[in-house]
Symmetry: C2
Subunit: 241 residues, 2 copies
């Protein structure tokens, strides 16, 4: 029998240095809402999504090429950008054939950190593309790092839950010697019957933040499996499927 590839869960970008990111698949996870929006836009026919780490860079790219610029700060569309960070803003009728330049903080920062550390294969994960990501990881048979974006380097519930969902689905295909993965898996086991209620009952910090912006519908959407089942992968500074 061939040896199973390894799987690790990195609960915060500030822990990424503990893992060997080379020669493995890094799954960048930013459930609320960067990687959910990325999956949705690409699923609905966007040509590509370019993740950038600042509003300024987003505006600059918007001037230099034909694209949609999007991003939020404190729950509002950032000044100088056109659209926000909700999956609902990117239906096929709007985004098909277009390039989306998206500025996010936690997810984009993590992606660039992984690149800087020598990652060669990066995909993005969210509940909206859970099954597609899982199938891809099983087929690839490479070592995996589930990398949670968290919130300003703090561990968060929803990204940890997504890591747990992946492990619940395909953990048996991997060698898992990683307490963080065990924690994520256990947490997901408690939450899976109703992720939204779990987030609410457990006072998830992001639950409160987004509820305060009136975004309950966004939260519920981003916690739903397989509504945008594609595998966004990073190549030449953009995400494609």
């Amino acid at each position: 029998m061939s040896k199973k590839p390894t799987l690790y869960t990195c609960l915060s970008p500030a822990l990424l240095h503990l893992y060997n990111v080379r020669d493995c698949v890094i799954v960048v996870i930013d459930v609320l809402r960067a990687t959910s929006t990325i999956a949705t836009a690409l699923y609905n026919g966007a040509k590509s999504v370019i993740p950038v780490d600042s509003v300024e860079k987003c505006i600059r790219l918007g001037r230099s090429m034909e694209c949609i610029t999007a991003g939020e700060r404190d729950g509002q569309i950032a000044e100088g950008l056109q659209y926000g960070n909700s999956a609902f803003e990117y239906p096929r009728s709007f985004i098909e054939g277009k390039i989306l330049v998206l500025t996010t903080t936690n997810g984009t920062k993590l992606l660039h950190m992984a690149l800087a550390k020598g990652a060669t294969e990066i995909i993005t994960g969210s509940f909206l593309n859970l099954s597609a990501v899982c199938e891809h990881l099983v087929e690839e048979k490479k070592n995996v790092i589930l990398a949670c974006a968290g919130w300003k380097d703090r561990v968060n519930l929803e990204d940890t839950l997504f890591a747990g969902a992946v492990i619940a689905a395909i953990g048996k295909h991997f060698t898992i010697d990683c307490d963080a993965s065990q924690i994520a898996h256990c947490l997901y086991g408690n939450a899976k019957e109703n992720l939204f209620e779990f987030m609410k009952e457990h006072d998830a910090s992001h639950y409160h933040r987004l509820m305060n912006y009136g975004l309950e519908r966004d939260i519920r959407h981003c916690l739903t499996a397989d509504l945008a089942n594609v595998v966004p992968y990073y190549k030449d500074e953009r995400l494609l499927i």
Copy 2:
């Protein structure tokens, strides 16, 4: 009604910079086995425990003062030291009235990090002194950081479980806006009926490491509540009760 103090859980020393350690009580947690051994030695009458971060420093202190030098590396008593890192080595008949100089890696490193960041009040926590720590935190009414030592900066199960046990016991006395605390609390809820079995079933990395050294009895002991119910606090480079 007066405002409740805050409680945060820091799952790894590499995340400590995210928390304001000043003017709060830091609970250093290194269940397997530093903080369990510290509680035991002090409970059994040790004058003090001096935590040091290297075998060399431990040997040097041993030469300069009358004390017991102890510490392990890779499951063996480190060369040049007298005793190991098991609570069973420190019964009252042996340790009463003596000073224990203990070298550990993860727990000591975290303690020194907290000091360097300006922490003014540090205590140590383990299941062996769970109730004493909880009562102390409730009485003090100060902000709390439950700081897990982990393993080489990786999150581990047993320290996270201890944080969860504290939150299960006294969380209602605090304002908890911290997903890591929610995760720890939830994990403990799953594990509390049988912590040893939980560690075993969930392939805790420390479970395997210590079982390989033949230390099942140590693991079981360190997962038992209130066998050494004291509150070790750090003052002048040593832990006292």
